[in-house]
Subunit: 360 residues, 2 copies
Amino acid sequence: MLQVLKSTVAAIGPLDAAAMAEARNRQDRLTKPLGALGRLEALSIQLAGITGRVPLGFPRRAVVVCAADHGVAAQGVSAYPQAVTAQMVLNFLGGGAAINVLARHAGARLVVADLGVATALPAHPELLSRRIGPGTADFTTGPAMSRSQAETAIATGIEIVAGEVRRGLDLVATGEMGIANTTASSALVAVFTGETPETVTGRGTGVTDEVWRHKVDVIRRGLALHAPDPQKPIDVLASVGGFEIGALVGVILGAAAHRVPVVLDGFISGAAGVVAGAIQPLAPHYCIASHRSVEQGHRAALAWLGLEPLLDLNLRLGEGTGAVLAFPIIEASAKLLAEMATFDGAGVSEATDTPPDAAE
Amino acid sequence: MLQVLKSTVAAIGPLDAAAMAEARNRQDRLTKPLGALGRLEALSIQLAGITGRVPLGFPRRAVVVCAADHGVAAQGVSAYPQAVTAQMVLNFLGGGAAINVLARHAGARLVVADLGVATALPAHPELLSRRIGPGTADFTTGPAMSRSQAETAIATGIEIVAGEVRRGLDLVATGEMGIANTTASSALVAVFTGETPETVTGRGTGVTDEVWRHKVDVIRRGLALHAPDPQKPIDVLASVGGFEIGALVGVILGAAAHRVPVVLDGFISGAAGVVAGAIQPLAPHYCIASHRSVEQGHRAALAWLGLEPLLDLNLRLGEGTGAVLAFPIIEASAKLLAEMATFDGAGVSEATDTPPDAAE
């Protein structure tokens, strides 16, 4: 295993129990009925555990969008031509994609990395060129990539997030672009969760039964060919994964090693989270699930990760869009913990008994 | 009926169909698979219909928090002493409550109005004193307020929102504070939805079966005493409502008349929305449901309003907290519509057939 990968995995420790206890104690003294902030309370405690302090907010924010192509696109599993991957990367660089709008809205830097888009892209000052190859190979006829390429993809993600940490990073989101990458993600999630390809393969909007059955069959053939062993997660990534998915695994592991909360977008990011968790079981503790994708495999990935998403808006766009949409909620949970008055400090009476219905 | 109430109700028209058609058409040309932005697409179309244009964002934001006390608190339906209403208003004015933190976070002005808190409050430059009385009467022994007071409460909300419109207002949220106001809200929602008191009365966290049964019985006795007629919504408000709930009815009607989107917080705001919708059936079209409260009556209120909440975070705090938490998502939906590139503009290929799985 590459040295940087080994040392990053070793650097990931458990959440800070003392900071979590302090946060939990403070939550219970804030001027509100016990538990009235619902899921924002547990979220603030997790953030304290990740960062090691009662966090005051996350002013330095980034979303890392990794793009690559997939050989399995040749099997006709996507309604979009493969050229769209490159076109959308250019759209990211031009500022016109959904992730551009939402990153600006969330005050997050947008970091776009080419891990292996099939069509060559012109050099651009805003594009990190980290190409591992011109797309993966078709996993129905052989491994998507070599073991060495899989390690390089993960190491690249680790290096990208380390660069962002050097620029200053309090909160990071994962995003991706790659035609046919739901097919790779369904294959990965099937391997680690033990679910069948049928269960973890999405229909998307308007997909016919026929296209969906074909997609499931493509995944089933890939899994039959490689018989991937979930105990060897990097080999699984090499067999049926993608370059951009591997890089996101690295972003997640790197963020966890630097104790930076990492916000997972939808299904593909969830699949990367599962691979990261298979490599280092502590990594998911540093992850926040932003939204529940329409893609049905996302539920299995989130259940495996033990994460409950914050938003459920029927998104299925990727790019990191759902993740940055959740940024204001994540920041709000931290600010509530840090800035609210306590009962004693504000002179507010506490509940005489249990607090059933003050306010609502 | 008061003249301002009559003219406000008459000023509320249907959403702008031409602006909605333009927004829908633009959504389908943005560089994303059709429908991939999920509920944010329908939200942006509603916002276009409300404002009459493809909205660019909502820079001038406010949350109106109306506070008042409830005579029915004497029946022991809340775990908190009535004094907490006044204490929490002082906490709002001191900047230490959850709504202060979240309003700052959302860039929203916080407008606090006293509609009738039992304990007299000292004058404060940030407090709108619009007292109708020292709290309502106990609705188990007589009407909560007179018909004239109910009209005044609604007119006061209309006047408050008109003042905010004069200061500049693109987006407004409703919030409240009032010990025992879930009891009044459950009674109101039961009347208009036809649900039983059991179905629309919440247990809150930790409420014992005994307390909950007592609360249901209090509501049942109130409804038996007044036999409120849902065809006469202002009389229903007078029988079992609250001053702050009446003011929120006015905020909703006033916002709709000024074509300003109004973001409903949780259960009490939902009950006010139901009363507003009973007075003017077009009013709910101007409403956005922010979150699904833990209070079980909220589901019935949202179903009656035909609204689906954006967030589901197990909040049960009120004050407008859930509503301002949704502000960034609402603004994001508008910005996506206004700022994203179109397929032709960005040179991105469209789906060859149906768009099942580009990205995710």
